[in-house]
């Protein structure tokens, strides 16, 4: 039998797995407080030289190189996602994680999102409340150079955003007029896109290719907003490092992490504390892969909940086609305006919880026509091809805006991440198998909201509308697979995001969400990571550590 040879790196105080939204926040905060920090990232740096967003071929980048689906993109750092799921997760594996590709919509959760069991009798309450995240929300908004307008009555008051809102454009104005006629809620969108030069960001140039990388460096991403300060404070960021296991000492504490470097060499990064920030799919995969005699069902999984309760914000769209020119290829591709009119439970409806709506441009002509064709696919070939192709282009291109409808999908044990028994990634680690079905409650919620969005489009003066069913890919936020809670039998981590089962193991990505709300999750992921990092700093003297 061959002995496995593992090379050891210099021990550190903290090792963080993943360099994206949560990992970058923790690295910057902990390094500034004097911790020795090492962060392991399976991908590489991505910057303007890699972007295609300032080329005419930008839309074609979405087909492969800049697809949000790792199974399509298939870069060396991507690991396969298998299984049959109604919605496929989106992710980016590289420095900055999903925030390399995100649309930068910045949306705190509702106050009620933390108390859904108490208020609506479903799912579970969070062990923390909105007020616990209030100060971190403000800090991360500053760090991310968010542009937005405070004072939305649908949300608790926070300090003003650091930058004024990005102009809502013709698309936002048209949509807002419709909401005004109906008497429904809307508000100018907040985005982590600088409306003026701020911090490390330049002012937005409205290219509208935000999800293929911003060549102007106007969109916040950790390689601009957090990693420079983290590295300056002494943090070490290792790229091309795929973590495959979390080994334990004899007391059941994490010793650090085992990873394979870009040459395939297996290495042990010893650390006193391990922080997982690899997103709700990657973290669950790593914990399940770290099964041992002590934890036969996966590390930190005495509750049996690791990988379960996956939530993904099922998403539908209603596109409003107007006669007036709307220049709807213009960016940014964040949210022009949003609505929380139907975000809360209404006992008169046949579903619980609700949605967030947001208005977006349609991008270039390839995207605009593809949307039209997808919505009309059941009408047959001649409805969308041949000369009809030009009719579709003339009708929709530059004359449309889209209401995106993002649903709160409640946590269900059978929606989950498991290890694929056959398929492995390039390092031999099992692929993540996604089992996810959109629930009846969510379908009812989306059906109701789509009907309302059609009304909103018509009130905005739309001459026609078209509707898309649940998007199978392209949106899929990943949340909930390592939920936080006070009861070790019903949660994976405690209110400070420390594993109930392993005293020096933390999870700080979106996996800790108890419920998903309907808001885009990044603001909350980053705020929570900051809250946890600050707690680690305050309690460092009493932190149990690995041998």
């Amino acid at each position: 039998m061959l002995m496995r040879r593992t090379q050891s790196d210099v021990a550190t105080d903290v090792v963080i797995v993943g360099s994206g939204a949560s990992g970058s926040v923790a690295a910057a905060r902990l390094a500034a407080a004097g911790f020795e920090v090492a962060c392991l990232e399976q991908g590489d740096w991505t910057g303007p030289a890699d972007y295609m967003s300032d080329r005419p071929e930008a839309e074609l980048a979405w087909v492969e190189r800049w697809s949000p689906d790792p199974n399509v993109r298939r870069r060396p750092a991507d690991y396969p996602l298998t299984g049959e799921a109604d919605v496929s997760p989106v992710m980016y594996n590289g420095v900055g994680g999903g925030l390399v590709q995100w649309a930068a919509m910045w949306q705190p959760l509702l106050a009620s999102d933390f108390r859904v069991r108490t208020l609506d009798g479903v799912a579970d309450d969070w062990p923390i409340s909105w007020s616990d995240l209030a100060a971190p929300y403000v800090q991360v908004a500053r760090d991310m150079s968010v542009s937005g307008l405070g004072g939305d009555p649908a949300l608790p008051e926070l300090d003003p955003y650091p930058n004024p809102p990005i102009p809502i454009g013709r698309i936002g104005l048209a949509a807002a007029r419709g909401m005004d006629r109906l008497g429904w809620h809307w508000w100018p969108g907040a985005n982590a896109i600088a409306s003026r030069r701020h911090g490390s960001l330049q002012a937005c140039q409205r290219r509208g290719t935000c999800m293929m990388g911003c060549p102007e460096n106007a969109k916040a991403t950790p390689s601009l907003t957090h990693w420079p300060s983290a590295l300056a404070a002494g943090a070490r960021l290792v790229t091309g490092a795929r973590v495959v296991e979390i080994p334990l000492d004899e007391r059941g504490r994490a010793r650090g992490v085992v990873y394979r470097d870009r040459d395939g060499v297996e290495r042990l990064q010893k650390a006193q504390v391990v922080i997982l920030a690899a997103n709700a799919v990657g973290t669950a995969r790593l914990l399940l892969s770290s099964a041992s005699a002590r934890f036969p069902d996966g590390l930190a999984n005495s509750s049996g909940l690791v990988g379960r309760r996956l939530m993904q914000h099922p998403y539908r769209t209603v596109t409003a086609v107007c006669e007036e020119p709307l220049e709807s290829w213009q960016g940014p591709w964040g949210q022009s305006i949003y609505s929380l009119e139907f975000a809360e439970t209404d006992s008169g409806r046949d579903f619980v919880r609700g949605t967030k709506w947001m208005v977006m441009p349609h991008g270039g002509p390839m995207f605009a026509v593809a949307e039209y064709q997808e919505a009309h696919r059941d009408e047959g070939f001649d409805a969308v091809w041949g000369t009809a192709f030009h009719r579709a282009t003339a009708e929709v291109f530059g004359h449309a805006f889209t209401w995106g409808i993002q649903a709160e999908d409640l946590p269900e044990d059978d929606n989950r991440v498991v290890l694929d028994p056959e398929v492995c990634d390039s390092s031999g680690m099992p692929a993540a198998r996604i089992e996810y079905r959109v629930s009846e409650n969510t379908h009812k919620m989306l059906d109701f909201n789509v009907a309302r969005a059609v009304e909103a489009a018509e009130a905005a003066g739309a001459v026609s509308t078209f509707v898309r069913d649940v998007w199978p890919t392209g949106i899929g936020h990943v949340l909930g697979t390592t939920r936080m809670g006070d009861d070790p039998q019903r949660s994976v981590v405690d209110r400070w995001c420390r594993a109930h089962d392993v005293a020096n193991l933390y999870v700080i990505d979106g996996g800790v969400f108890v419920t998903g709300g309907s808001a885009n999750p990044t603001a909350t992921i980053m705020a929570n990571a900051l809250r946890v990092a600050d707690h680690m700093i305050e309690t460092r003297a009493s932190q149990e550590v690995g041998a």
């Binding site: 087909v63 509702l110 108390r115 649908a154 004024p164 008497g183 003026r196 290219r207 282009t393 003339a394």
Partner: protein
């Protein structure tokens, strides 16, 4: 044309199929007349290399078939293959400068923001504030 790009026969087949998907009409040119089977095809495949191999296989297969029947067959029974063909045709078509000019598309060009001191939506926003009941209080 790169060495690994479609051959001249494959390009000829592509032009035939492309014109079925994007025909001349409504003041717009057919796909082949703007050059989708020439340089635009190369640009498209360079931007999305994943399309190249399956497209070449499709074009070889199509060469022995009636073009209309082939495209209809893909559309009705082979959605993944149809997506390869249609994505390439549409992607190449919208790379054409002539097509962009005809549809009034300047491209995803930089355009500096202009932030108004008093946006024209302010009155509408005041009405939102006045009529909203406030956020849901929580225990």
């Amino acid at each position: 044309m790169s060495d690994s790009g479609p051959t001249p026969p494959q390009r000829a087949t592509f032009a035939l199929l492309a014109d079925i998907l994007v025909a001349e009409g409504l003041g717009m040119p057919a796909a082949s007349t703007v050059g989708v089977a020439a340089g635009l095809l190369d640009r498209c495949l360079e931007a999305a290399p994943v399309l190249a191999e399956p497209l070449r296989a499709l074009l070889d297969e199509a060469a022995a078939d009636d073009p209309d029947a082939f495209v209809q067959g893909l559309s009705e029974h082979r959605p993944d293959d149809f997506a390869v063909l249609s994505t390439t045709v549409v992607g190449a078509y919208f790379l054409s400068d002539d097509v962009r000019r005809l549809i009034g598309y300047p491209g995803q060009q930089p355009s500096p923001l202009s932030i108004a001191a008093e946006p024209e939506y302010l009155e509408m926003l005041e009405r939102v504030h006045d009529r909203h009941p406030g956020y849901r209080e929580c225990p």
